[in-house]
Symmetry: C2
Subunit: 358 residues, 2 copies
Amino acid sequence: MEHIISYNEIFKFTYNTFIGIGCSHEDATTATTVLVAADVRGIDSHGVARLPGYIRLWEAGRINPTPNIRIIHESPSTATIDGDAGLGLVVAPYAMQVAINKAKIAGTGWVSVGNSNHFGIAGYHAMMALQHDMTGIAMTNASALVAPTFSVERMLGTNPIAVAIPAGQQPPFVADFATTTASNGKLELLQRKNGDAPLGWVQDKEGNDVTDAHALKTGGVMLPLGSDREHGSHKGYALGSIVDIFSAVFSGASYGPWAPPFPAYVPMPENMPGKGLGHFFGAMRIDAFRPAEEFKHHMDNWINRFRNATPAPGCDRVLIPGDPEREMEAVRMKEGIPINDTVYNDLLEIGKRFGLQL
Amino acid sequence: MEHIISYNEIFKFTYNTFIGIGCSHEDATTATTVLVAADVRGIDSHGVARLPGYIRLWEAGRINPTPNIRIIHESPSTATIDGDAGLGLVVAPYAMQVAINKAKIAGTGWVSVGNSNHFGIAGYHAMMALQHDMTGIAMTNASALVAPTFSVERMLGTNPIAVAIPAGQQPPFVADFATTTASNGKLELLQRKNGDAPLGWVQDKEGNDVTDAHALKTGGVMLPLGSDREHGSHKGYALGSIVDIFSAVFSGASYGPWAPPFPAYVPMPENMPGKGLGHFFGAMRIDAFRPAEEFKHHMDNWINRFRNATPAPGCDRVLIPGDPEREMEAVRMKEGIPINDTVYNDLLEIGKRFGLQL
């Protein structure tokens, strides 16, 4: 069964939950805006479905609701930030704003963040740059689920990358993707339906290709974008590694197999080489490269040309990165957000605890 | 038949060829160093095998051997460069040096380049940053051969990305990959052997998956990393697009299907929206984020941990990006560079023209 809840209702509920764990009004507003942006854009796995997970991390003492987020190292175009174990949903927008502020003066701004937690959808943070006529970049490392090419060991997270580029008349270009063949969210969707995963998404713990969407529960791994060596999995492995290094080795966060797990019941890795999760953000003023109007004219032309590329037989149209999410947002802001039964019941439990109605 | 030629011999021959088309001593040295780096590192498709192609572009008036490469726009951390139709092999190192110089002062440097030509292997330029204790990034757009997801039209080049990250005791992390399932070089190798390509590399002009390595000669296309929608080709398409936009829309180069073709006999696209090919370079000082020694210690730890990840059954070891090329370099600098018969004969022709011995 599916429950349809309006943006305003889900926002209010989520906001009050964050107030319930001790966040300030400002932080609760930011965290809610970021978290619910996932639901609105159709990335259901990263939205309120994760609210119980965040609460359990707070209960386990791994999330600090009143963090002292601060710059610990900087140059004219860079900063390194300690998130003080705050919600990534709060730390990330703070860090992205620092990148934007640096870019205003230096042309670009680049911020690596350590001692943080999961930050919701990467696309939200990258898109913060758009209103400033800047290109935005966001990435994060995450709990290790992915095996490098030629390995069966979980060494990397699904480590997403988002890039948002402003246009003129056209809506912006917004790419936001895990560096794995399929995101963990898509895998979770198949797990709930007890469906088979396509070959090339997961392997069992012996390194055999399997279609069992539950393979991770028995020691299996997710595969880097490309799936196997012959189809370029070493490129997905390299991309996931770059995200890990920029996010965590640059900042002093914990990296690779030592990244802290999202489920609070999973013990923290031993001998962690850094603190918490890491993120990396970039902001580039478009007029640091070319007059803004000229850039936007050509970006519109780029988007138009690609949108009008010859479709393959049986395909309606060619999409520009960001199209599906923007179209979903228009629908869900009007018609409400569908919440499945499992998530709905989880939210009711949270409601009981914090005295909230859904 | 294969000919083994020493680095010094191939360097001298290539240098004299560039002198032959009118390059200065300095530019010929740079262009040769970059071009032959591909052969030495085992990326044979991008090395002297392309020398005849460069010569034909020069004959067609599309390469200017004495370019006035200049900064046309800048900010503290950025620059836009007009390559004046020079060899990309010369323009790219110039631009990367500008990025490095910016990074010395601003912490990072980012340079978009237009009006250029093919720049050899992306990895060479990214690696220029290493000796300055900086992370280097290089990318370029290229002649359109790749169809976006849901399309059968050639809209993007194989648009490679390289990222070089310094370490301490360990050799550096150097990723350098096309944003397609397989590089054009690998496809050319199969074409020469009349071998079949794995499914997922190319499609025919109707959008059918085919194994014919010659499919591009009959209107076929290469596929973005991921191969098909179910295996994440929209991510490869997004990556290739980002490279195209950063390299060409940022700089004023020609983009997407309008990128100038490498073969000089292919007519230039009509209504080109910019000049020449585009590149994008980045340099980030590691101590702009964290004290350099601390960073290197953790980068060594990262590399060690990944190199010692559990191998899959039947696999010897897990590789770090850059391992295969570095190992090849050690062999070829000692034992010489194998040149196949076709390339050897092409070089003999060039030798006749410019009065050179091979």
